[in-house]
Amino acid sequence: MKKYYYWFILIALIIVLILLPKPLIVSPTVSTTLTVLLGLALVVVLVLTLRGHMIGRRTVFLFIGMSLTLPFFMNFQMPIKVSPEVQTLFDAMAKLPSGSKVLAAFDYDPPSAPELQPQAEAFMAYAFKHDLKVIIMGLWPQGPQQANMAIAKVLQQPGIRAKNLRYGVDYVNLGFQSGNEFVIQRMGTSFSGMFPRDIYNTDYDKIPLLNGVENFSNIDFVFNLSAGYPGTVEWVQIAVDRYGVKVGAGNTAVQAPSVYPYLSSHKLTGLAGGMSGAAEFEQATKEIGKANTYILSQSFSHMVVIAFIIIGNAALFVSYRKSKQKGA
């Protein structure tokens, strides 16, 4: 029984938080108090470690659980500074005149949605507000579904609803196509070769938005949301390198470091990496959404992980000291 009590505490805490009236946001004073209590609890763990009482992984899990859930109910405002990579991405989008055709490649699935869906929603909202024509496709089967979810959400905004955007005229969803990077390669010569019909089974030639869109030379910008393979690396290697199209990307935090070489060589026109990239992208586009809420949880969890790294090194220091004493 004893070994499960951490889980009982966590589950009870989650149930209490779920049952509370929504939206529950505690005052800044309570938020600060909770943060101080969390910090003091970590200090207690550090002191216990220095005294030789090593903590188990369940304690780490408990602290991570609290650091992820509590910020959802806190009232904290933190400055979100737009990084150079995100600014480059936004600048490239801001330069597009009304009526520009933008290809949005949704190459991710639900597990990566917390990081990428806010970017998708901010992109869609920005594109629709600035009269950009959006052509959606996916190299991942779930991608076009994620695009539909983003569109359904942004179409509820009064400013966008008032525009009476029409499917097939202002945006189109071509769906998923198997073939990974070969799909991109084929699109270099013919879009319709890879996507003969859209998700509604409408022939390519009968979609007004796609009139005159033969290949990448008719596309002004590609925005790729990627969570792995196939994704941004393939878009850069084929669409940018072979066909010279401008590609900007939103990546998961895990993938973002691997595409940095393409940023410094200016092959990739901007990058929004992970949750922080998503929050910065929302700030840049002024489409504040979920990422600006989630980033607080991520901030807290990062601080807790750093605290546990310090505690882990304290444990290492204690074990060195003990072994030295034994040796003496």
Binding site: K81, S83, M149, S178, N180, F182, L263, V305, N313
Partner: protein, 223 residues
């Protein structure tokens, strides 16, 4: 001939791929389209093959009552549920004017996607946060110089990539702020390391491809 014919096919296909990449003009440009179409078709069949293989394996597990067979039952039920929901919605969608897709909001497929598939797969991925934290606690220890460098890099990137970094160091000059350090680490040491990995992978890919095309490497013909 059992070995020679596959080797000839491999060599011809490999050379054709190289030519179509470096000479994007007729007739080589046609190769590109043909190969891309073939690859998409093979990819589509691979999806079917994967699905059927999963079903076959799960049915075998159930019939043999092998270890964890109820999980196989869950796989089959989930697979059939989403396929049937998608097929029914898709069938109705084609008859609608204007046509609707099984992916549209409000369909059975969309309900399963949003309320079953998305939470389950997100939960699996979210568990990583707990394991990463536990692993960081155990692994990021200053045992030697290399480990200490890794430790400090992790510290600066973790704190500098979230707003709390600027919140804590906002009073410092711009170039001394934690986000600046994190950006520098990502833009220079990280890029240098990633480039080295990329170049290494590219050279490895070229040499392995040449070995396969020239028939030196024949492991793909075995089995």
């Amino acid at each position: 001939m059992k070995r020679e014919i596959p080797l000839i096919i491999t060599f011809v296909a490999g050379v054709a791929f190289v030519l179509q990449y470096f000479i994007p003009h007729y007739p080589f440009s046609r190769f590109e389209n043909i190969f891309s179409d073939w690859f998409a078709i093979v990819g589509a069949f691979a999806i079917w093959l994967g699905a059927l293989s999963l079903m076959k394996l799960s049915l075998l597990n159930i019939s043999k009552k092998s270890h964890d067979w109820p999980i196989s039952l869950v796989i089959i039920i989930c697979f059939l549920s989403i396929v049937i929901a998608g097929a029914i919605d898709g069938y109705h969608g084609l008859n609608n004017v204007p046509a609707t897709s099984f992916r549209d909001p409000g369909t059975n497929f969309d309900w399963l996607y949003q309320n079953v598939y998305t939470p389950l797969s997100s939960t699996m991925f979210a568990i990583l946060a707990f394991f990463v934290a536990s692993a960081s606690y155990r692994a990021f220890r200053a045992r030697n110089t290399a480990a200490t460098l890794l430790l400090f890099s992790a510290f600066f990137v973790m704190i500098g990539r979230v707003p709390v970094g600027d919140y804590l160091s906002g009073w410092l000059p711009e170039r001394m702020q934690l986000s600046h350090w994190a950006n520098w680490l990502m833009a220079f040491p990280n890029t240098a390391g990633q480039r080295a990995v990329m170049i290494g992978i590219a050279l490895g890919t070229v040499s392995t491809s040449l070995r396969i095309m020239l028939g030196i490497e024949r492991s793909h013909l075995e089995g």
